[in-house]
Each structure stands twice: as C-alpha cells, then as structure tokens.
C-alpha cells in the first residue's frame, strides 16, 4: 500500500514525462517526506525512462542515485553484486565504493543484517549528528505495510516524531528482520542526537525509520 504524502512538489497526473530536474525534485521530496513520516510507505518512481539494471530494487537505486555523489561515500554488503555496483557508482554517480566504517550510506539486503557489525556505522558526533550513517535495506519480502489491526508476532510498532500518537497504531511487517537487529539499533542510537537512520526499500516503495523513531517488537514490552 502506498500512501502519498501531501506535497506541492507532486504534480497532478502529468500529461508528459517530467524533466530531469522536476523528477529529481519530486524524488528528493519523497525521500524527505518519508523521513518526516516514519513508517509511511512512499512511492519512488522513475518516469523519465527505464533504470539501468544494477541489481537493486527501483526504490533503492533511485534513493542511492539521489543521495550519493562525489562528496558522499557508499558501501555495499557482500550479497549485492559488488563489481557491477562499483562500476555504476563510479560512472553514474562519480563516487567510489568504500568500507562500511567509512561510508555515509550502507546498502544491504535483510540477510546481510545478521553479519553487519552496527558498531562500525558512523554515528556522527554531538556537535555534528548529521554525520551519522544511513543504512539502506533493499528488502525482499512480503508487503511491509500489510499488517492486521491486531498485534502480530514479528511486527514492529512505531512511535515517535512524525507519527500521530492519536492516530491508528503504526505497525510494519518486518518479520524478515531478526529481533537482535532492533536491539543493536537501540544500543547505537542510545546517545541522541547521535545515531544512524534507516531506509527500507521494497520494489518501488520507500520507508524511513529515522533514529528518532522508537521501535517496539510486538510481544516485547521494551521500546527501542
């Protein structure tokens, strides 16, 4: 399910393909909106032409294309096609692939999370928390937002800034991600404002889980 955030950047059904500048602005706006509304799935589409196949989901590829450039470093987990991605990053983004500890963006699949040492991720500093890394999970699994109104094992419940406390309970179906990951995330994000942010990409959808979002596993009393 895709929920469109109300933004002025989205033109109502364009009659023709948008210009590159317009598309770039729309995509960037969607990424910003995703961070403003944690847990909300937003569509990240390419309308100016087909994407070059690089082994990432469309949302993940568009996200990286928008946010990685010569001043921003990216790392890819082992399960992703490293040679093709390195060439793509070099040619299309004019950047270089680096190790996880040096990266501003770390792209992985959910299977990689068990091997990923989150303590290596940059958390920024108290003076510059914006230097904290961003973990991009190219998620392959069932629809994240397809959850029942009742608490279901494996689902996570989200609270925090950008989530209406009076609105319906915000849940995500993240059964493919092990509970240990969320506990490690909570440890890393313990010294607010330092921490790292998460984007989850699934097909053409994008969900943000910024460091401010508290995550509670259904059936687990602890809030992380």
């Amino acid at each position: 399910m895709t929920t469109q955030a109300p933004t002025s950047a989205q033109a109502p059904t364009p009659a023709q393909a948008p210009s590159a500048a317009e598309q770039s602005a729309r995509q960037f706006r969607q990424i910003l909106d995703a961070q403003s509304y944690p847990g909300r799935a937003l569509s990240l589409m390419q309308e100016t032409g087909p994407l070059d196949p690089v082994g990432l989901s469309p949302a993940c590829q568009i996200l990286v294309e928008n946010l990685v450039n010569r001043d921003v470093q990216v790392a890819f987990a082992a399960s992703l096609p490293s040679a093709e991605l390195a060439r793509w990053v070099r040619l299309t983004l004019n950047s270089e692939v680096v190790a996880v500890a040096e990266a501003d963006f770390i792209v992985c699949r959910q299977a990689d999370l068990a091997h990923l040492d989150l303590t290596q991720l940059g958390l920024g500093t108290m003076a510059s928390p914006e230097l904290g890394a961003t973990l991009v999970i190219d998620y392959q699994g069932p629809d994240l937002t397809a959850v029942s109104a009742e608490a279901t094992a494996g689902c996570v419940r989200l609270t925090g800034p950008g989530i209406n406390p009076q609105g319906p309970v915000k849940r995500l179906n993240l059964t493919e991600i092990d509970a240990a990951f969320w506990h490690q995330r909570a440890d890393c994000n313990g010294s607010f404002p330092m921490g790292f942010d998460i984007f989850i990409c699934r097909d053409s959808e994008l969900i943000a889980l910024p460091r401010t979002t508290r995550i509670q596993l259904e059936g687990d009393a602890a809030c992380m």
């Binding site: 602005a25 294309e65 450039n69 010569r70």
Partner: protein, 394 residues
Amino acid sequence: MYVAVKGGEQAIDNAHRLLAAYCRGDAQAAEVSVAQLSQQCPFAISRIMTEGSLYDRDLAGLALKQAGGDLVEAIFLIRAFRTTLSRFGYSAPVDTRAMRIERRISAVYKDLPGGQVLGPTFDYTHRLLNFQLLENRAPVQTDIATAAAVDPSTATDSLSAHRVSDLLRQEGLLSSPTASAGEPVDLSLEPLTFPAQRTTRLQALARGDEGFLMSMAYSTQRGYARNHPFAGEIRMGWVEVEFYCAEMDDTLCLGEIEISECDMVNQFVGSKDALPQFTQGYGLSFGYNERKIMAMALVDRALRGDEFNEPEDAPAQQQEFVLAHCDALDASGFVSHLKLPHYVDFQSELELIRSLRAKASAQQPTENPSDKRSQPSVRPSHADALEVTDDSAR
C-alpha cells in the same frame, strides 16, 4: 534563512491561496508563461541564476513566476532547489579567452585588437518609456549581426583572441594574481571564515546581492577606499564548460553557458624592489549582469588591501563587513525573522521597562506626595513593594 513559522494550519493554507491569487492578479490578463519570462526577462533571469548559483534559465523563469517577480524570493527558491541536486563533480576552469563574444568593450584602449563590440546594451538608450510595448508591439529584430560591432573593420574573425589584461601583462604593466595555497574552499560546503582567501571572497561576491555590492562599489569610488579604476574590459558571451572524466581519461564538453566578465584596472603599486604595476579587480557572473560584475570587480579590488599594504579603514575594505553581509538570503532572512513571534521576549522587556519607570518615578523628588498618587499610569512595582515592606519593618 529563517523559514520555520508556526501558526494555525488553516490560516497558513489560506495565506498560501491568497498569495497565489495576489501573484496571479487580474484573471482577465493572460497568464505569463515560464518560457516568456525566461526569454523576455533575461536580466532578471541572469541575476537569479548568478545569486542563486545555478545555471538554468528555465528553472530561473519558474522561480521568477512562482515568486511573483520578487527576485530575492526567486533566488531563495533556486538556492533551495540547488541543495537537492547531486554534486556530481567539478567542471574544469572556464577559459574566458575562448569566449564567443556578444559584447566586449574597453574604456582603456579605443582601438583594441578585436574591436569594441557594443552588443545588446541599455547604454545608448534615452530612458524614455516605449509606449509601443503597451500594445505588445515590441519589434522582432532580425538580421542584426553586423550591427553588433561599432567598427566591423577592426573586428577579427576571432574576437576572443585578445584580452586587455593579457595585453597589459605582456608588458608587465599589470600584476598577476597570486596563487592561493591548496584547493579553493567550496563555499557551498564550507562556512565562510575570516580572513578569507581571494578565491573564497570571489565566490561570496559572485553570489552577493547586486544592490549591496553596487552600494559598496559606489562607496569606494566616492573616496571610502581610494578606488577609482578604469574599466579595462567588460565582456559578455558564451563559453564552453568542460568536465574531466577519469573513467574515460578525457575531457568532455558539457555545453555552452552565457557569462559576463569584468577586468578593472586599478591604481598602480610599486616599491624600490618592484617596478610599478597596475592592479586588478575581477567580476564574473552567469548570464548578462553588467552592473553586478563591475560592482564585484570594484569590491574585489577594495578587499585586496592586504596584498598591497594599503590602509583598510573603509567599510568596503573590511572583509567581515562586506562578505558577512553581502548574501541576500542571509540578510533578508535575518531581517525577516523579526516577523516571527517574539511574545515572550517582548513580555520580559515590558516587565523590565515598567519596573524601571516605576522605580524612577518613585525616586523623583516630589513636592506634594499627593502628586505621586495622582499618577495612575505608573503601576505599582516590585521595587515599590520592597520599599513599603522596609518602611513598615522600621
């Protein structure tokens, strides 16, 4: 720039709609298109591109339309959009010697090689309103190529071959810019710090508000920096932008952009060790922005006082004064922030001023105590209460 304003959601929504209606004006008048603005307001477009620091005529036209003609607001829109763009890389330095020239004048050599090319200029207009434009009867100009040059016989096939500054430097008459150490600071990424190198200063001045720079430049001419130079060369035209692609190990031409460039030739300096030489101020902008580049060149030269051991006592010579205040967005943001609610700050000031007034009134010698009681405007203050308490304790 301060933009965060909290308020009633409905009121803000209505304000947006009122703004849209205000900018649209009378619906009987045809809506202006972005293409019309981009093509028919080239000077506004040039200023938006220059101070917005983004070369895109269509987006500048869009910003101009969205801002209802408010140039600083349009520049703000472009700067905000610019921050969302991917920073792919740095282009190679532009070679302005290879400019495809549309205008080129010099106030120091009448018959300079290549000739004087007036190009499109307001300089010789009489500043009389053209009432033909009221009826949309602007003449469409064609076949004006030969009208561009004052004296076509002096023009060469390659107008770009000669720069006045090069001619002066060949004779050793003009000082050469000193190379700054290391890579230049990128002002888009690094905050301005002082003292700023010339490369940084030029970046700030290029984005600086035209009005501010013009006033600063004017002040230098009027004596607040002993700066009354010659316009060595003013040129406007098209230059190629190139990018070195490491993957291909080759330099690619990305396209042409229109720019304006100004070389000012200033008073000379010399010493017992160095022969006297003229000095230079430099201005560069996107598009056609002549007033801006001339002002920029004047201010650039004024800020070079330390290089030539000049006294720096005029405002235009003070780096912090000029550079910290020349950005239109910084300036308008800080001025505009006064619109934000200051209810609590003002309340504390009110408390303080009432207290001070009451205390001062209480201390004034009064001939008749009944006079004091007849001043209802002065409210009882905390200080008064203390005095009463002290008296009663006594």
